[in-house]
């Protein structure tokens, strides 16, 4: 299995990938029906419903494959997207497909109305007056994809009004449809458009009416269709999806937008995770792409999953916190964002690498903010060039090449989230010039990548701030730049913060310019606006600074004066107070000193007593404390030692536990690995054995084929008209030898024919020379004698001698004395003939006594007669449709009936079952007991049938037809068993020999095929035209030894042994000399080794 992925992910299916597009078969047929009736289909649906995929991978391949019938055999398909100029896009597509000059085409289409039809009619693809017009002409299919771009691009549609180009393009398409219907032209138009823009179509005259009768609203997929979407591509690519995964995916699909893109993206990731489908897609793969909780997995799978997750970097692991189907795309995009810098360093050889990881992330953020926009409160994609993105980033070290290199991870073939996609290792697709337009592959990415949603929220806030700021600037400009209209301090702070955060520049402003002016005008306007914004900001800042300076000066002067006055007043008050306070304090201090001296004396006496007591107590306490300290120190040391010991033991236990856990995981992983390897080894062993068997078989086959080829070549040579006729015999014998070496057991039509030819050439096989005739019929009796019946009514009996001659052993007169010539005759058995004379009278004729008995007269000839198994009765059929049963000795009919058709043959199976074959190829069963009739084969359109033969030992009835085919009917239940082609032209006679199982069939091309009914797959031996003397066979017979006799149109009786071994042995016994080396080289060529 190669690395083909049947799930395209976020991008639509291409026409080449249509082989994997499943689930929409019915819808494709409905769209084609609409085209057939209305010449137009207007396909609408929600974003992500797969409209484009349905057209490109569904409708177009269906049409091209010939399932949609139109006037011509071939198709010309013109497809375009409106982009920013629908007329230009249409002109480019039309000129490219029709192979005409673009300027001429664009000029023609500008005239609108029938211009497109005129181009078609004047091209070589509209052919009406030649006999093979159906092969020379081409039907025309025009596809206007993503028609909503008419409304989403401001150049096409602004302020509720369409541009001239948009109007003309729609006029052209509608008029094309109208003319196609009116003039019955093989021209068809398909539109695809998001359904939320349907109401805006009313601004185009007539478009609503056309939509009304040709709209196809893409239905939501039903459960079984989603199942097909999930399982069928994997099956088609030779893989499989487990039923439980299918059920989980179906149940976890959220309703609303992005159902299919999210599912397709997840399936793409699943396929790659499951080794490109080499393993069945299962729940563990979904868990690995963060699409489902690991809790759903079995214990063993969980262990494998945990071991795998542990090897992932932190930034990947965080996406596994809340796994679900919607998270798969978020996790994928997030992982790419984190690893973009390393990818850039590794793969972008052409770019300077002087950026940091942070700068790479900034490039991605700016790019995705630029590639999205808010439209009517919806986030939609916004195409922009690498040059524009680089301009918005506006850093000297970040060039267009750097931007391209960093974004390439999102364009990589494995992560096609941005268009145009690139192929790893293909520089042409990796390096893009600055004017290349980038586009988000699908809006599902915008809605499901949470980081991008956050960026867009910031971008929306920035845009709102810009609009507010721009309004202030506009008022300032309108006032003639009056300083009164500059920003006040508070507003300036708010906008300054925005300015520093957003860092707007001309490209950023250009991105948000929704006017319909030309790009160059817009860029000039953005440049001028940016300069004005900078100026306004600067002037506002200067005005605020000047105002603040003047105000500050006045305040400083006032504060200085006030401070000086307060200081003077405070100085005087402080001096007066301090003088009064000094006098009071000195008086008080004298009184206090006297009193304190007395108290000090008493206190000193008390303290002397206390000190003596305390000294005694302290001495005692000191002794106790010393004892306790020693004891505590001892305990502390013991506890510390115990704690150290316990810490060490705990550490050892933890380490052992970690080791054990790691070893358990390793063991489980190794176990799974070993199981896997064992399975692989077993598979490889079986493959090797199988290959050995195949090789041996191939060698054997090669040897076998080599000898068969030699045999066939020699056989072909043996059929040459050599002067030396013995050479034919020697070649035929050598062919036999090669056939034996090849182990082919003589069943080889060429060899058989060659033997017959060589032996005929040498008169070893020769016709029987029987006088009389012309003969009408013959039979071979049990003794091997030939009984002939001639047109003149003569009966002859002959014995074949050992030298191959016919010896007359007729008993009595040959003539029977009735002179009216015989028209038709049929041997009921070797002793009894039923025949019709030219006068339409029919008789039974006893071979032994030559006595004849009249049969009931029907006025028509006998076509066939057949004896019952016990030989007591027989059935006889007349050309005019009459059938009857009679006793073998003649007399009155036992039963009879008449059919509407001409009878060619009858077969008496038993008393309740007589089979009747009609000239028109039908076969009926007649029950003479109750007269019932049942048709078993009814051929439509009618073929002719002449003969049938019962293969009694296998309970089958063989019927042959004029187209060379043969049908077998089971005689036990009358069911049609099988059919086969037995000849190249009309089959006329057939005869079965139960002893050898050979069914001999003669055909109008003068051949007899010998079919071995014991092995119907075996290629039949053929008695060719030359063996039949270039004559057709009239009737045939087998003797008891299986030798086939045939009476031919030239009235000669010939015979052959259908067993080729007889002739081979005959050749071996003839002592023919082997081919000399010279003869061999001359006849076969020296490059072929004989032995």
């Amino acid at each position: 299995m190669s690395n083909i992925c049947p799930y395209p992910g976020l991008r639509p299916f291409t026409e080449e990938e249509s082989i994997f597009f499943k689930g929409r078969d019915l819808h494709i047929q409905q769209i084609v029906k609409l085209l057939e009736i209305n010449k137009m289909a207007f396909i609408t649906g929600a974003s992500g419903d797969g409209k484009s995929s349905m057209v490109y991978a569904g409708v177009i391949p269906y049409i091209r494959a010939g399932f949609f019938k139109s006037q011509y055999n071939s198709w010309l398909i013109v497809d375009f997207k409106p982009h920013r100029n629908p007329l230009e896009a249409m002109s480019k597509a039309v000129s490219a497909e029709f192979g005409i000059n673009y300027n001429h085409c664009a000029e023609e289409l500008t005239l609108g109305f029938s211009s497109l039809i005129e181009i078609y009619k004047n091209s070589g693809y509209y052919v009406t007056d030649t006999p093979d017009a159906v092969n020379k002409g081409k039907n025309l299919l025009i596809i206007a994809d993503q028609f909503e771009e008419i409304f989403t691009n401001s150049e096409n549609f602004n302020d509720g009004k369409p541009s001239d180009e948009s109007y003309t393009a729609i006029n052209l398409l509608l008029e094309t449809v109208r003319l196609s219907v009116a003039e019955k032209l093989p021209v068809y138009v398909i539109f695809t458009m998001r359904s939320d823009f349907i109401s805006q179509c009313t601004v185009f005259k007539h478009l609503p009416e056309f939509i009304a009768y040709s709209q196809f609203f893409v239905p939501q997929l039903k459960r079984d269709e989603i199942r097909q979407v999930i399982e069928q591509p994997a099956i088609l690519a030779g893989g499989s999806v487990s039923s439980r995964l299918t059920e989980v995916l179906i149940n976890n699909l959220t309703t609303g937008f992005d159902q299919l893109p999210v599912l397709q993206h997840a399936l793409n990731m699943l396929w790659k995770t499951a080794d490109y489908g080499r393993i069945e897609l299962d729940l563990i793969h979904l868990a690995r792409i963060a699409g489902i909780s690991k809790d759903v997995l079995s214990e063993r799978e969980q262990a494998v999953f945990n071991a795998w997750l542990a090897t992932r970097p932190d930034y990947v692991r965080k996406y596994f916190a809340k796994p679900n189907l919607d998270n798969v795309l978020n996790a994928h995009a997030g992982t790419l964002y984190e690893s973009a810098y390393n990818y850039f360093l590794k793969n972008a050889d052409w770019a300077d690498k002087n950026i940091t990881d942070e700068e790479a992330k900034q490039i991605i953020e700016t790019a995705f903010k630029s590639l999205t926009k808010i439209d009517n409160n919806r986030l939609v994609r916004n195409r922009c060039t690498i040059h524009e993105i680089t301009g918005i980033i506006n850093k000297p070290n970040i060039t267009e090449a750097t931007v391209c290199g960093v974004l390439n991870i999102f364009r990589d073939e494995d992560n096609p989230l941005l268009r145009p996609f690139c192929v790893r290792g293909n520089l042409e697709t990796q390096y893009l010039s600055g004017d290349t337009v980038l586009d988000v592959t699908h809006e599902a990415l915008i809605r499901n990548w949470r980081r991008l949603a956050k960026w867009d929220k910031e971008e929306l806030a920035n845009l709102n701030d810009y609009n507010e700021f721009n309004a202030q600037v506009q008022r300032w400009l309108d006032s003639g730049r009056n300083p009164e209209f500059l920003l006040p301090s508070g507003n300036y702070t708010v906008f300054r913060q925005w300015y520093d955060r957003c860092k707007p520049n001309k490209y950023w402003i250009l991105k948000h310019d929704t006017s319909s002016r030309p790009e160059s005008d817009k860029l000039n306007s953005a440049t001028s606006r940016m300069e004005t914004l900078d100026l306004f900001m600067e002037e506002s800042h200067s005005a605020i600074v000047a105002k603040e300076k003047s105000h500050r000066k006045k305040v400083v002067i006032a504060i200085c004066a006030l401070v000086a006055f307060i200081l003077c007043l405070a100085g005087f008050s402080w001096w007066a107070m301090s003088e009064k306070k000094k006098a009071d304090e000195q008086t008080l201090r004298a009184e206090e000193n006297a009193q304190r001296a007395e108290e000090q004396q008493h206190k000193a006496e008390d303290q002397e007593r206390i000190a003596k007591i305390q000294q005694l107590l302290a001495e005692q306490a000191n002794l106790v404390a010393e004892q306790q300290r020693d004891s505590v120190q001892l305990m502390y040391q013991r506890a510390r030692a115990a704690k150290l010991e316990s810490d060490r033991a705990r550490r050892l236990a933890e380490e052992a536990q970690q080791r054990a856990e790691q070893e358990r995981l390793n063991a489980e992983y190794n176990f799974l690995l070993a199981e896997n390897q064992r399975d692989t080894a077993e598979r490889e062993r079986r493959n090797a054995l199988h290959q050995m068997d195949l090789t041996k078989e191939a060698n054997d086959n090669a040897a076998h084929l080599y000898y068969v080829a030699l045999c066939n070549t020699l056989a072909m040579k043996a059929k040459n008209q050599y002067e030396d006729k013995t050479l034919n015999l020697r070649l035929a014998k050598t062919a036999c030898d090669m056939n034996i070496k090849g182990g082919n057991t003589y069943i080889n039509a060429d060899l058989y024919d060659a033997m017959l030819f060589a032996m005929e050439q040498n008169n070893i096989i020769k016709p029987l020379n029987i006088p009389g005739g012309p003969f009408k019929a013959f039979a071979v009796d049990k003794a091997g004698h030939i009984i002939t019946f001639s047109v003149s009514g003569e009966i002859g009996r002959y014995k074949i001698t050992s030298s191959g001659k016919a010896e007359n052993i007729s008993n009595g007169p040959r003539e029977i004395g009735y002179r009216i010539p015989v028209e038709s005759a049929s041997f009921i058995n070797p002793s009894l003939i039923a025949y019709s004379a030219k006068d339409r009278k029919s008789y039974l004729l006893d071979v032994a006594t030559k006595r004849r008995t009249p049969l009931p007269q029907t006025g028509e000839y006998i076509s066939s007669a057949s004896a019952s198994p016990d030989g007591s009765k027989f059935a006889i059929g007349y050309v005019n449709g009459k059938v009857m049963t009679m006793p073998i000795g003649g007399g009155n009919p036992l039963a009879e009936t008449v059919f509407d058709n001409n009878i060619t043959d009858v077969y008496y199976h038993n008393d309740n079952k007589i089979y009747v074959l009609f000239h028109n190829g039908s076969l009926a069963k007649w029950n003479p007991s109750d007269g019932s009739v049942k048709t078993l084969i009814a051929v439509n359109p009618p073929l002719h049938a002449y003969k049938m033969a019962a293969i009694t030992d296998k309970n089958l009835l063989a019927v042959c037809f004029s187209d060379g085919s043969m049908q077998f009917v089971d005689l036990t239940d009358d069911s049609t068993v099988s059919n086969m082609v037995a000849g190249h032209s009309k089959l006329e006679n057939l005869l079965y020999d139960p002893s050898s199982g050979i069914l001999a069939i003669s055909s109008a091309d003068k051949r007899i095929s010998l079919i071995n009914t014991n092995d119907l797959k075996q290629k039949p031996l053929v008695i060719e035209e030359h063996s039949l003397g270039n004559s057709k066979v009239k009737c045939m017979g087998f003797n008891s030894k299986g030798v086939l006799f045939a009476l031919t149109d030239d009235n000669i009786l010939r015979f052959w042994d259908p067993n080729p071994e007889t002739y081979s042995k005959a050749l071996s016994s003839m002592n023919l000399t082997s081919l000399s080396d010279t003869e061999w080289n001359l006849i076969m060529g020296s490059e072929f080794s004989e032995r």
Partner: protein, 276 residues
Amino acid sequence: MPITLFTNNIRVFVADTSPQEEAVRQKLCRVLSRAGLEVVDSLLGDDAIQNADCSVHILAESNETKRSALLQYNAAKHLRSDHFKMFVWNPSGFVNEYINNIRRDVVENTIYSSTHSPIVFVEELRGIMNMRKDAADEVQEKDIFFIYNDLDKDTAIDIYNMLSDIQSVAKLSITMTNYTDYTQYIRNQLQGCKIGVIYYNYAGDWALSFARQVWKDTGGSSSPAPWFVVANSDHAKEEDLRAFNGIIAHSVREKSLIPLDIKIFFDKTVETKPKQ
């Protein structure tokens, strides 16, 4: 827009559930009846499931699942086949280890649904049970199914004649202006053959798209009878078929070598086919 008419008489066995979910079960029975489906109630006994075309098993949050519900669940597991589908419904969306086990146990002909709405659930059930298989046409048992465009009939007939001498061949000529629907016929006839061959000379545009459509329609790489696209080097080049690399076997040859090429592909296919 065709409206699907559900005319099949479908019998749905609604299995026992826990007492807490009994009300949900009752409502489901009523919704099934309103949807035109015949409800085979579990009250009729455990054997009633044998008379149904499918069964519904409602999962409950509580552990008080009836023993009969488990028995019926196991009975349905044994019955599930192309003719008997088993629907497991978890209306509460609750997940525990028991329910995870059931989800892991989902195999072919088992449908697990966690929608909370009985209407949505019954709509899905009715849709799945009404899927019909197309009636098979009479199939000719041949070695090779040989298809060509009427544009290339001159060379195609020669190749067909040469090929018929060495293998049995069923042929089909496609006429693009003829209003015959070939898809069903091709699907059926391929089942009677060992390989399918698409031949073209002038009709390259048609052949590439046609090959994709029939390849997809007949089972792709998993089809027992693989497709072989063979082009006449008069008007075709190898690079025209590059898109088929690794997907569909193909070759570009002179007309006289084409039968041999087909024979080689046939032998290789028959030899490498795993023995039954």
